[in-house]
């Protein structure tokens, strides 16, 4: 596609478009068939107008990248980086000859510009949480075009991990100054504020904005209903033979909010490759329709530790419930009342594994024999369905009085009722079914479990504001350093909304941590200061041990969901069982370089 543009002089030749030392795409996975042919269009669908799932595929152009197995970092736009001895200065060196999708050179000015915006009070960007040490933000210097120097107020060993995490950070700091500057109020006469700037800065909406993605946004039609992307002629990644990626010329993606239409699209063979938004529930249908639709069904690990995990609000609004929840026996009793095998059978047809709530088994904190042993312990902690044990624990807590219907009474004489927030059936059948099973289990223990289905946004809001007692969320995480909240209460999420809020707001709002929560936060603070990576892993494992002994804080149901990935038979170089798809932080499948997929028109 690009050759004729070069011939017409619209584009410089390849040598000028690639950086001096381009990144070679890694392919250490089964399913790689070799360098591919150019051409073709990739048809797929998306579910949200913000193209979040697409950015997970090909919106990842960070300074450094997560490796395929998420066990460390590899070079991205930056070819090298290094800390000084005490971890207060991080120096990065960019590749030479990087260019934006419009040909303009990519230099350190982009990062500097971004940080300038962060410090600018008029703009919505603020210095990210990871650059603050002891409340003080970093300073950024760019001594030359290819060097970025970040100076922190104290040791900040986790900074490179943050730079690599998620598609969102690189989406922010890769800001094309040469294009955006005309909307900046200080540099332009037309605009007094940042409103137009922010609007033009939207990577999923503005085709004129240059980007570093493998496919650049070409058109957005009908309010995001139909989006096309085209090959970025200046993309910095090549294959083994030095040919520039991606091979595929164009990507066409439709907005399809209804799950049934998505099923039909796949069956009709209209989808070339889809990593997410494919439901396990319809697996039988997909398997049956393989020949007619001309696609293959792959199963990728999701690395999930809880589908879903049951969140128990540590800071419940009701003081009597709060007291009960903070008693470790109560939580162990609740855990013992969940029939995980049944959850697995009913909601997931036995395709998952019943276990306690954990993060991903593949996480790099648990590599090595000691780590694996600890993880195995965590998986099975309080994961047995044992009503006798549950009843015994509750009796031990003096909850022996019962009312006329057989439900236990609390210390204040009221019935022991737990309200469980469940998403509506049509949105999420599995969580709904599991809610029913758990309800039956807890009722058998004498606890009146009531299911509450708030509509849509309301459910999420209740979780966020900490107004729930029991709620649900899928749990999967590969890296606790950059996404600590399944173990460390650093954000208002999951089981610790109010303590997390306290930490996040620097002590301004929320509830100050005590006891076990405080210990966990202290460990996390130590992690941030720790230089040695193995010691850091050790600290994480220490925290996990606390979870095993004094937990559970999240209750598990079933986990290790096999993620269904659909790939058309013409679409090649897709990993047969790719990188972990569950957690968003490690940006899968982008770490498997989907730009090296190609379309082979003739059947093999």
């Amino acid at each position: 596609m690009l050759a004729w543009r070069v011939a017409r002089g619209q584009l410089p030749p390849l040598a000028d478009r690639l950086p001096e030392k381009p990144l070679v795409a890694g392919h250490a996975f089964e399913g790689y068939e070799g360098p591919g042919v150019y051409g073709g269009t990739w048809h797929r669908y998306h579910v949200n107008p913000d193209l979040g799932t697409w950015k997970m595929v090909a919106g990842y152009a960070p300074l450094m990248r997560w490796t395929y197995d998420c066990s460390g970092l590899e070079a991205g736009l930056a070819e090298s980086w290094a800390f000084n001895d005490d971890g207060t200065v991080l120096t990065l060196r960019l590749r030479k000859g990087l260019r934006w999708s419009d040909g303009h050179p990519y230099t350190s000015e982009s990062f500097a510009f971004w940080y300038e915006l962060c410090l600018d009070g008029r703009h919505e960007y603020v210095p990210p949480v990871w650059c603050r040490v002891g409340g003080e933000a970093m300073t950024v210097q760019t001594p030359d075009e290819r060097t970025i120097v970040m100076k922190f107020a104290g040791p900040n060993w986790l900074a490179p991990l943050w730079l690599a995490t998620g598609f969102w950070w690189c989406d922010w700091y890769n800001i094309p100054k040469h294009y955006m500057v005309r909307f900046h109020p200080d540099y332009s006469d037309e605009h007094d504020d940042f409103i137009e700037f922010q609007r033009k800065n939207l990577t999923h909406l503005n085709p004129d904005r240059p980007s570093m993605w493998p496919w650049r946004l070409a058109t957005v039609e009908q309010g995001g209903y139909r989006v096309t992307l085209e090959r970025n002629p200046y993309y910095y990644v090549v294959d083994d033979l030095g040919r520039q990626l991606p091979y595929i010329d164009r990507v066409k993606t439709h907005l399809v909010p209804d799950p049934q239409v998505r099923v039909l699209k796949i069956l009709a063979g209209e989808v070339d490759c889809q990593y997410r938004a494919v439901e396990l529930r319809d697996l039988a249908l997909y398997l049956k329709g393989r020949d007619q639709g001309g696609y293959r069904v792959l199963r990728w690990p999701s690395g999930s530790g809880g589908n879903p995990s049951i969140l128990v609000n540590w800071s419940d609004n009701d003081p009597a419930l709060r007291k009960l929840i903070r008693d470790v026996r109560f939580r162990k009793a609740l855990a013992a009342g969940i029939d995980r095998a049944k959850c697995n059978q009913i909601a997931w047809r036995g395709l998952l594994e019943p276990q306690a709530a954990t993060i991903s088994r593949e996480a790099w904190h648990f590599h090595g024999p000691e780590g694996k042993k600890l993880f195995a312990q965590w998986e099975q902690a309080d994961a047995q369905f044992d009503l006798k044990k549950a009843n015994a624990l509750l009796d031990e807590m003096n909850l022996t009085r019962r009312d006329a219907d057989g439900y236990r009474l609390r210390a204040d004489g009221k019935r022991l009722t737990l309200i469980m927030d469940v998403p509506a059936g049509n949105l999420n059948l599995q969580e709904n079914d599991i809610g029913l099973i758990i309800q039956a289990g807890w009722r058998a223990m004498g606890i009146d479990a009531v299911l509450n289905t708030p509509p849509g946004a309301e459910l999420v809001l209740r979780r966020r504001l900490g107004e729930f007692t029991i709620s649900m969320h899928g749990e999967a995480e590969m890296d606790l350093f950059t996404y600590p909240d399944w173990v460390f209460p650093t954000n208002p999420l999951y089981c610790h909304p109010k303590v997390g809020l306290w930490y996040q707001s620097g002590g301004q709002k929320g509830e100050a941590p005590t006891g076990v929560m405080k210990r966990l936060l202290d460990i996390y603070d130590e992690i941030k200061k720790e230089k040695d990576i193995d010691a850091r892993h050790g600290l994480v494992r220490q925290a996990v041990r606390i979870h095993i002994e004094e937990g559970p804080f999240h209750l598990g149901t079933a986990a290790r969901l096999p993620h269904v990935v659909i790939a058309s038979n013409r679409f090649r170089n897709v990993p047969t069982s790719g990188p972990v798809l569950g957690p968003w932080a490690v940006v899968s499948p982008a770490i498997s370089f989907p730009e090296q997929c190609f379309i082979r028109e003739a059947p093999p």
């Binding site: 919505e124 209903y225 049934q260 239409v261 039909l264 946004a457 809001l461 979780r463 650093t490 999420l493």
Partner: protein, 328 residues
């Protein structure tokens, strides 16, 4: 007649105003606002506190920190000038979002409406004039079946059926080949091919109901003394039915016309979602679910405008058909 029309138009304005006020309030009844949700979403993804400050900025910019009357006043003032505010979720101007989809929405709605009336009225007349014959019973039965099936199920079933039997996927309004292509006869034919499912499904409920009403009305009218007189006068049955009876029987149907509009528009919302159509319906639903107040408010107001306009037309048509109404 003209005076009547002008009077009705003037009356419509306070109605519209009241509508916008109430809808603005109702949309914000559920707890919290869009930004609370946005924070949640951001934090879950990004796990950082920077979004707190950023969201406070957004809050000020969108005026969500002001009391409700102020927000409403700002919005209405912009409305009048053609600035419908900005959608939070899509981060674009509301009018951009709407115009792009409005054409197809109107197309489907009008087509469904035409389908409904074109099918229901003749069938209703036929059914009434052949009362108690087997054809009447058959039509009655079919209309009941049509009325009693939920639209989303029928939409899905039709789509699956079309796919299984014809092997051709019929979601959206165009097949991939024609999408984005310039308008040609081929594209038009493709559109029609895709259009029949949504039109049939949206129209089905309405058709059946309307047919019953038409039948009922006509039977009522046919039982009236003036009809007996007309027959006694020796007029042909056809003349009696069409020239005299139908004209009166159609009376309530015209007032239903105004009422059908929001049903068709928002009833087709569910169908559009199921069938994946680029119309206003799914937009409205999503905006309500995420409390995207300016978008939702504008959409509801658009619907109300259409309704009021529809009623106006219906009233005018009614006055024209039945002269007694004019002199009030």
């Amino acid at each position: 007649m003209i005076a009547y029309v002008i009077r009705r138009c003037l009356l419509a304005i306070p109605t519209l105003l009241a509508i916008t006020m109430i809808s603005f309030v109702i949309i914000q009844l559920p707890e919290g606002d869009y930004l609370d949700r946005k924070i949640q979403q951001l934090e879950e993804q990004y796990g950082d506190s920077s979004s707190l400050a950023r969201v406070e900025e957004l809050r000020v910019r969108y005026g969500l920190d002001r009391p409700m009357p102020v927000r409403y006043a700002k919005w209405i003032w912009g409305f009048v000038r053609g600035d419908f505010g900005e959608s939070f979720e899509y981060e674009r101007e509301v009018n951009e979002l709407i115009w792009e989809r409005l054409a197809f929405t109107v197309l489907i709605s009008v087509a469904s409406l035409l389908f409904t009336y074109a099918v229901a009225i003749p069938l209703g007349i036929y059914s009434a004039t052949h009362q108690y014959k087997w054809s009447d019973h058959l039509l009655t039965f079919l209309s009941f079946v049509g009325m009693s099936l939920p639209a989303f199920l029928v939409a899905l079933a039709l789509m699956v059926f079309a796919f299984e039997v014809f092997g051709v996927p019929l979601f959206g309004l165009f097949s991939s080949y024609y999408e984005g292509a310039p308008w040609t006869w081929g594209k038009f034919a493709d559109l029609l091919k895709h259009l029949w499912i949504p039109v049939v499904v949206v129209g089905l409920n309405g058709t059946a109901g309307l047919m019953r009403i038409m039948r009922g009305n006509l039977l009522d009218v046919l039982g009236q003394p003036f009809v007996l007189t007309a027959r006694a006068k020796g007029l042909a049955e056809r003349v009696v039915v069409f020239k005299h009876a139908v004209r009166i029987a159609v009376n309530p149907l015209i007032s239903i016309l105004g009422m059908s509009l929001p049903t068709i528009l928002s009833g087709s919302a569910i169908v559009s979602i199921v069938l994946g159509l680029p119309t206003v319906g799914p937009l409205l639903l999503k905006s309500l679910l995420s409390e995207d107040i300016y978008l939702a408010g504008t959409l509801i107001t658009m619907l109300s405008v259409l309704l009021v306009a529809g009623n106006l037309l219906a009233d005018i048509a009614l006055a024209w058909v039945d002269p007694r109404i004019r002199y009030e």
